[in-house]
Symmetry: C2
Subunit: 327 residues, 2 copies
DNA sequence: CTTTTTTATGGAACCCGTTCCATATGCTTT
DNA sequence: AAAGCATATGGAACGGGTTCCATAAAAAAG
């Protein structure tokens, strides 16, 4: 593979001149330019980015950590993040942490090893301390990781509120509420707290079921469905995360309970899967594209030397009315 | 940031010795080892992978190109590919090519610029010639890119056959068949050819509708649904790719046509979305995990100097019986 | 016609590791 | 005692770029 030295020799100039031309920095005479261009073409020269990176101490690569990239929420996030990073000249390394419990730390270590310039983590792992040690650009999605790591999240409190209202206004009296695991520190707990608060204020009976941490597989969802609906529980409203809400709806259909007449449902996240089922679900929609954009923006600031303390960006959720609620 | 020189100075040894210790190559005395270890700890030293990469001319990064990473088929593929690459010590760069028409070429160029060691492309782009120029490790997913680039695909012919059989055996007489765009060279055309062949042999009327290239957005699917079902066409069997099949099923439900009594459906790909709808769909399932594994394996071979000519790995599809067909 | 400024160029030093070669010591072997 | 080998170490050269400094010719200013 031809290097800059070969080009310089062939063109009869110094390496500095070739480099200056490549980077449009400093003076290069027009006819020298031409000579170099010809030499580059003849040698089929492409600059070795590795050498450049070594000098500049940057790779232009950002690691995005998610538990599972085929989960609709994360796959949309990843998709938008990649597009956003591309716009500002960065490439995205995708890291799936679900498969191995030390994968997360290994990927974080890539910051120190100069393999990536920054990290966006959407992982709800258990070792917060590891993050606190690292003095490198990191942005957290929906997760608290110490005061130096900015957090991007939605207004979950409002999300919980909107969901509660939708079910109450649709006339629900006995509600089944699936809540996310409480073992991690995340802004999302707000939605469950607020949801239950509203229910309590309205004297509506609520049954809560806490889901396990980091389980996104079909088997798990179906096991939960079986467990919850084996005893003939009597509910007329369900609030759950997208996938769980869909499984609940299917169970209702299989039990010949009419949606939304007999049972109302509100899904949380509002990814595309809540739109491809029939009836289309009423959902609290997280603005995934905005989340990705904000994450990238904050990371960009950090890379460029900005420091944040207790920074949290909160985006608004919306209720998308489907046909699983009356209102 | 401390470098290997600082460590060497602090430990009172030469850089070569530190390097040998780091790489477990050559001789290092036990007490020297200890001195270096202490120095490394005190300086909080982490090797700069960039410098190593420059010397070794490899980055340990593989680019995976997909049109859209939030499409269930690709997101599952990406997920498995990442896990598989991780196992053999590679990281994955994810490249979404849908957003910009030159993104694909830009990512391919990263091979020349030594940013990635190999490429797995699941993109059905239009510039095959660009691929043919590149003499670097590339594997194609379900796509023909010249004789030097190995192809991983499923037995689409059998897929088309199984789908046709399922519909015929379920008693269909008038079939609607959505076919993928014919503008790209891909093994997947086989399924449509075979499907239509079987239908012709059985004297069953088939209506074909060719889908546009590279369209994965909801708006498009719904526009097609509107277009196709505006005239009250009379079909009792539908064969389409997952997402389209689901949209068709929903349209049937909305039109109060019973599935599978009045209309039978077979989905192609069999990603998880065909399992979360009610009724669960009968589908031709592509073994996505195997596709990812095979792609990674072939790429690994190429990176290690193996050369392939006209290599194609064909994996088997299966029919997963759901409740949208009788048989 | 000097002096200053602009334009132009080559090459050493650097980025941070790895590897190889030269050198040296201690321990066997003959 | 001499030769041979395993053990141990330092440091120069290298990978392929970038940047800065020294130098010089050409152009502009005085």
């Amino acid at each position: 593979m031809a290097g800059i030295k070969d080009v310089a020799k062939k063109a009869g100039v110094g390496v500095g001149t070739v480099s200056r031309m490549l980077n449009d920095s400093g003076y290069v005479a027009d006819d020298t330019r031409k000579k170099i261009e010809i030499a580059m073409r003849e040698l089929n020269y492409t600059p070795n980015e590795l050498a450049r990176n070594l000098y500049h101490k940057r790779t232009g690569i950002i690691a995005v950590l998610v538990p599972n990239a085929s989960h609709p929420f994360f796959s949309e996030f990843v998709n938008y993040a990649e597009a956003e990073l591309y716009k500002i000249g960065y490439k995205m390394m995708l890291c799936n942490t679900e498969k191995a419990n030390n994968a997360e730390l290994e990927y974080l270590d890539m910051l120190n090893r100069h393999i990536v310039d920054g990290v966006i983590t959407g992982v709800h792992s258990l070792n917060v301390e590891e993050y606190k040690k690292i003095q490198k650009p990191i942005v957290a999605l929906d997760r608290y990781l110490g005061d130096r790591i900015p957090v991007v999240a939605v207004n979950h409190k409002k999300g919980g509120h909107l969901a509660a209202e939708a079910l109450i206004n649709s006339g629900c009296k006995k509600i089944l509420h699936f809540i996310g695991t409480t073992v991690v520190g995340s802004p999302y707990h707000e939605r469950h707290i607020e949801f239950e608060n509203v229910m309590r204020e309205n004297h509506i009976k609520t049954l809560s079921y806490e889901l396990e941490w980091n389980r996104f597989d079909t088997e798990y969802y179906q096991r939960v469905i079986k467990e919850v609906f084996s005893k003939d529980i009597d509910v007329d409203g369900i609030f759950a995360v997208d996938r769980m809400a869909i499984e609940c709806m299917n169970e209702m259909i299989r039990k010949h309970r009419k949606v939304p007449e007999d049972v109302k449902l509100v899904a949380y996240d509002g990814t595309f899967i809540t739109e491809i089922v029939e009836p289309k679900m009423t959902a609290i929609v997280q603005p995934i594209e905005e989340l990705a954009k904000e994450s990238v923006k904050l990371l960009f600031d950090l890379i460029n030397g900005k420091e944040y303390k207790d920074k949290q960006v909160t985006l608004e959720v919306t209720l998308r009315k489907g046909n699983t609620t009356i209102i």
